[in-house]
Amino acid sequence: MSLENDSFLKIADTITNTYLEKSERKIAGFYCTYIPEEILDAGGFFPYRIRATGNEDTELADTYMVRFTCSFVRSTLNLALMGEYDFLDGLFICNSCDHSRRMFEIFDLVVFKRENFTKEVPRFYISLPHIISEEGFQWFYQELKELKENIENAYNLSITEDALNISIDLYNKNRRLMRKIYDLRALDEPKINGTDALRMAMANSSVPKEVANPELERILKSITNSPGIDTTNRKRILLLGSVVDNIQFTKLVEDSGAIIISDNLCFGNRTIVDDIDEDKSVDPLARIALRLYYRLSCPRMMDDHPRRLEFIKKEIEKGKIDGVILQRINNCDLHGCDNMLFEHELKDLEIPVFNIDRESFQSDATRLQTRIEAFLEMIM
C-alpha cells in the first residue's frame, strides 16, 4: 500500500510542521538518538530530532565546517544559519560523533549569535561512554541524573517520577507501534516500502508522541488490512549505515528494482527495537539509562560491533533478505569502518553486499543508480 499522500507522513517532507508551529510546549532539539527523549517529554518539552531534509546546499555552513566533515551535519548547520531552526528553545547534544558534538560550540558561537536573534537558548551536553561495561553504565546513569537537574534549573521546573513513568509508557507504546508496522515490512508481501517507512520514522520524530501514537495506530490498522506489495521482481534489501533523512536516496534504491525490508539506521530500527522496563518500583531514570546504554548501538560504541552483526544476521533471516546495502555519508569514519568490517563478514557468509558512499543530499543520483542497478542485477 502506498502512503505517499498520507497526512502524517507528509510531516517528514519539511522541517517545520503544524504541530510545531502551534506548540505551546518548548521545543527541545537534539541530534542523536542517545538523547533521552523521555526526560525531555516528562519536563514538558516537545522533543524534536534535528534533520536536514530538503537542504541541497551548504554554502553558509561551509564557512564553519571544513569540507572533510559530514554533509548531513553541515546541512543541518546550513539550515540553522538560514534561521530554519530558530524555533528551538533548547539544544541537546552528546558525544555521538566528532561532527555533531561540535554543534554545541558552533550553535553557541555562530547560530545563536546571529544578528537579530535575541532568544536565549540553553544548551545541554551529556557524555556517553564509548564502551559497554558496568562502570560505563553507572557513568551514564549519573549523566542522566545531572541532565535532569540541569534542565530543572535552567527552566525552573520539576521533572517528577510520575511524569517520567507516563513518558516511559508513552514512548514504549510508540516503539511498539513502530515495531508492529516494521514487522509488516518483513512479510513475503510487505505492506509498506522502505521509503514510506523512512518517512514514518522521520514524522514520528517531529511531533509529540501523543500526536504520533494515534496516527501510527491508524496507519497500522489501514495497512494491516491492505494488500501487500508484490516483490516477485524486486530484490529484498537490508539497508545499513549513516543517517538517512532523504527519501530521494531510498527512492533511488527502490526505483532500481529493490524494496528495503529492514534497516539498522537511526531514523529506523536503532530507535525502536528496545523498550524501557516498565517496573515502576525501579527508578525511572535508571530504566531509561538501561535502555539507551544497552540498546542496539551505532559504531560510536567501540566494542559492540559483534552485537550489531548479530542483529544484522537476524534481520537477514527474518526478512528473507536478498542483499545488503552498506552506505555511509562521505567523511563518516564511524560507519565507514563499521561497514568495512560488515562487508568482509557478510561476504564470508556469502550474502551479497554492496558498500557505497554518498552525500547527505542527492547530488550524484545517476552514478549511484548505475551502481545500485548493477548490484541488484548481480544478486541471483
Partner: protein
Amino acid sequence: MNSNIANNKIIPYEMVLKSIRSTGELVERILPNGELDALRIGSKYIGNAVRDAVEKAKEGWPIIGHHFAFQREYLYCFDCVPVCVEGTSYLLSALLPDGIERYYDLMANWGHPFHTCSSQKGVMGMTLDNLFQFDAIITPTAPCDNTYASYPFFESKNIPLILPDLPFLHEEKSYKYYAEQIKLSLERLGEIIGQKPDYERMRNHIKYENETYKVQMELLELRKATPCPVENLFNAISAGIAVFASGTQDKLKFYQEYLEIAKKRYKRKQSYGIDEKIRSIWPYMLIFFDLSLCEFLDRELGMTILFDIFNYNFSEPVDVSSDLDSLFYDMARRGMNMPMMKESTDFYYSFIENCVNMAKDYSADCYVFTSHVGCKQFGSVPQILREALREECGIPMLMIDLDVGDKRFTSMKIIKDKLSIFAKTLL
C-alpha cells in the same frame, strides 16, 4: 622462542632502526656542527629506543600496540615492547624514501575509507601485511572518531583490544572514572600477556617524564625570544621522541642536550637558518610526509614554527610518591591533558583562548592550520579560530587542506607555494 619468528613480530621497527641509523650517520658525517641539531640528537635517542625495542622483541617480550594517547610510560609496569600505532606510521612516513603509501593502499583495498586518519592506516596496513604481530593493543576511547572506528579492525584480526574508556569533559569525576579505567585496563592487559603489573617500576618511568616536563617548560620559555632559538625541525623530532622514548632516560637526555643548544643560540641572539622574518604558530600538526618543509621554512622563508600541537601544551607532572589511587588519578589527569587529548576531550573554548594568548605571549605574526583530512574533531574549529585571532590579535591564519601523512593528497609543491605566497603577504 625462535628468533626468526620474534624478528618478524616487529619488522617496521627494524625499518625505523635502519632509517634512523642512516639518517643519523648522514647528519654526523656530512653536516658541520650547528646544522640539524634536533635531528642529530633525535636520531641518536630515537635510535636507542628503537634498538632496545627490537632487541627485547627478539627475546620474546610481548608486543603491545598502543595509541599515542595512552602514555607509553604506563606500559612499563610490564616486560613488554610498546609500539605506538600513530607514531610508527608517521615516523616511517617521514623516514622512508618512498613513504608508507603502500600500506595506506593495502588498507584502502581492504575497504578502509579514504577519509580516515593515515596515522592509524599505516600500521593497520602493516598489520594486514603481517609486518607487525601484536600480542595486544590498548587505546583509550579518544581522541576522535578515527580511534573508535579504526581500532576494531585489529580485533577483527584476532588481536586482543583493551579499551580504557575516556569520558568527554574535564571534570573531577572524569579524572576519577578514567583513573579506574586505566587501572582495570592494565590489569586486563596483564591477564592477556600473563604478567602482573609492577606499579613501582611504572613510578620510576613516570619520574623521567616529570623531569622532562621541567626541561620542556624551560625550552618553551626560550621560544618567546626573538629570534626563536629553536629550529623548526625540533617540533617534529620531539614528537618522535615522545612516541618512541617516553618514560625513559633517552627522552630526558634528548631534551637536556637540546636545551643547551637552544640556550647558546639564545645568548647569541642567533636564529637557526636565515634571519627570522615571520613567527608562526601551528596549532595543529606538522606535515610528516616530508620534514624537509621545516628546513625550507627556516632557510628559504625565514619562517619560524614556534611550536605545533605536540610542543605547546604539556600536562603537569604525576605525584609518584602518592598512594596507588592518587597515582592513577594523576595519571588520568595527565592523560586527558596530553596534546590533542586536551583539545578533543573538552569544548574548544579554552583551545581558542589559549591560541589567542599564545599569539600574544610569543609575539606570533601568524597561524598556520594544517586541516588534516582524518581529523573531524577539528573540522569546525578553523574559522572560529581565524576570527578570534583576527579580532583579538590582528594576525591572519593560513589554512592548508591536506593529509599530514600522505604526500598524494596535497603535494609538497602546493604546500610550499601556499606558504610562500602567504609569507609574501606578511612581509
